[in-house]
């Protein structure tokens, strides 16, 4: 067989291989970029959550006591393993939290660190203000903390421990909730 006969298929393959695939572009962006790529659809472009959107896909992460107080490794574990089924923490309209493997988010600890630092300092843009309506960050914190306390209490017995160890975290939110225990 002549090599020229393979050229059409090689050309076609190269053409399709050159098409953008999300995984390839994902590796070129930083933690903030990964947040927008993998997290913002559910948790809001500035971490404000999507409870006020339809469909509601995820709780706020900015001002979230768990995100603020839990170790980055614990958040990374949640990112890696997700919170599907019985492990889902929020008794609300949200679906399961999916798992993101290393192909989707190479540096989970780096992203978790961003959630605890950069995202918490995020300026609320006009875009996210629209999505939040009149809800201020302080009100988000208060509502979130109250919900978190309620949910943790409810979901505790059913929650399976994550693979990366049993971490006990004292969560103290803006409402001074007393000793909320979360087993992960």
């Amino acid at each position: 067989m002549r090599f020229e006969a393979l050229l059409p298929s090689l050309a076609l393959s190269l053409f399709f291989l050159s098409m953008p695939i999300s995984d390839a572009t994902a590796s070129e962006v930083d933690a903030a970029g990964y947040y927008k790529l993998r997290c913002a659809t559910c948790h809001g472009v500035n971490g404000e959550g999507t409870r006020d959107k339809s469909p509601s896909l995820g709780p706020p992460l900015r001002g979230n006591p768990l995100v603020i107080n839990a170790p980055a490794e614990m958040l990374a574990s949640i990112i890696r393993h997700g919170r599907g089924g019985q492990q889902r923490a929020y008794d609300d309209a949200y679906p399961n939290m999916p798992a993101f493997d290393a192909g989707l988010i190479p540096d989970a600890v780096g992203l978790a660190t961003y959630l605890k630092t950069g995202l918490q300092q995020q300026e609320t843009t006009s875009h996210s203000s629209d999505s939040l309506g009149s809800q201020t960050p302080a009100r988000v914190d208060a509502a979130e903390t109250a919900e978190q306390g309620e949910v943790i209490h409810e979901a505790g017995p059913n929650r399976a421990p994550a693979d990366e160890g049993h971490l006990q975290t004292q969560l103290v939110g803006p409402l001074q909730q007393p000793s909320l225990h979360l087993t992960e």
Partner: protein, 476 residues
Amino acid sequence: MSTGMKTLLICIALFFGLQFGVTQDAQAVAAFARQTGMNCNSCHIGTYNIVPNFTRTGRLFAMRGYQVPYIRERLHAEGDTGNNNEQSKYGGDYLALNWTDFFSARLISEVVRGGEDASGRSLDERSSPINRMSLFFSGAITDWLGVWTEIGYLGNNSLHSVTPNRQNEQTGVNFFAYDEYRINASWDFGKNSFYGFSMGNEHPNVGAQFQYPLPLPDLWSNGQGGVGKSMNMANLSAFMFYDDRLYLQIAGVTGADNTNWSDGSNYYLNVSYDWFRKTRNDLWLIGEYYAGNDFPSIMTRIKDSFLCTGVCPPGVTDENLSISNTPGDVIVNAPVERVRHFDSLRLSLEHSAADRGPHTWYAATTFLTMTQDFESGAKVEDTQVGAYLRYFYARTYGVEVFVRDHLKYEYTTPAGLKRDTYTKPNYGITFLWYPAMNFDFWLSFSPRVQNIVFDDQRGLYNDKASSYVLGMEYNF
């Protein structure tokens, strides 16, 4: 085989080999999962039975027109926009998510089918290893526009031989059976509120996915949209969802059996209320009204033959070379009537609970009534009720049961004579096993497959038929 043919085959093999080797990770989950990052269980309570049941998230996702919040930001993060301004203002600055995100497919195989039909003939020959193959291209186009398309291939419609006395022998020939599409545009107008418009070629109640589960009473859908096995129809809808709980929809429909607006049309109204609004506890109260003057009689079968013009000649039957499409339940020996006007009301309760401990279920009950006034002066009234449950333990082991019955199915002749019908409740049970969330086996039983007869012709009643199916389904 010629050298040219060998070269072509090698090229094709090389091409697909390269594609698979490089892109299989990106195609490991279905289209919506790729677009949203969520998995199947986020939106579905099992995928069995052609059209899967939905969690609250899944229903709102479809209702909204396959939109998710902040898709614009994701497009920017992927670098797929033509203009990298911080916030592009114009539609031309967007590029819809790439084709690997959009494309998905479903394969349904009936490994074993058995039982007997009403005449005592074995149903074994109806097994279809490729029962159904669907290709989807669906999702968000921009942050206000979404599309759903499906092209379906039905292997269970194998065309039979037309040779006299050999008509039960399959030819192995199949055809593309149907295609469906919906295009939805929607916009937010407040907290958990949106409004929008849609167009498509199915009944408009697909917009909110309230026509499912399939075993419940349904006189409207008349099969799927598209050409081939099923009749086509067109619809234009306006809808809104207010305050995370109230859904309103109004739609115009060309008719249940055509796409012509000029020969009559129908309209559809939907008022629905979501009571609890939680993933683990979601209760919808649904009221639907459908009326108009372009609808076939529910008593008789619509039949368009691919083989014969009009009546087939003696010795030739076109049972498997024709479209037989009936929105209702055929009555044996029912007169052929032409509908002048019809009214129909359906009231439903649908409850879903996803991952409540190890338990997940979807339950529904429906009351449906339709009255058809015929041009002859006759009329028919059909009132049905049905109940349905699909339950899963740990999202792995499931069972689905349904029962439905006619409360009243009565034909009134042009002379005013009332002819009641005779039939019995219909029921079925299916056992489900999900080794993975996108792969399942099922075993279903339909203990009674019956006909409907006029009460004054009870001798024609037959409920001897039964059937069972062992199948599998794979979504990818």
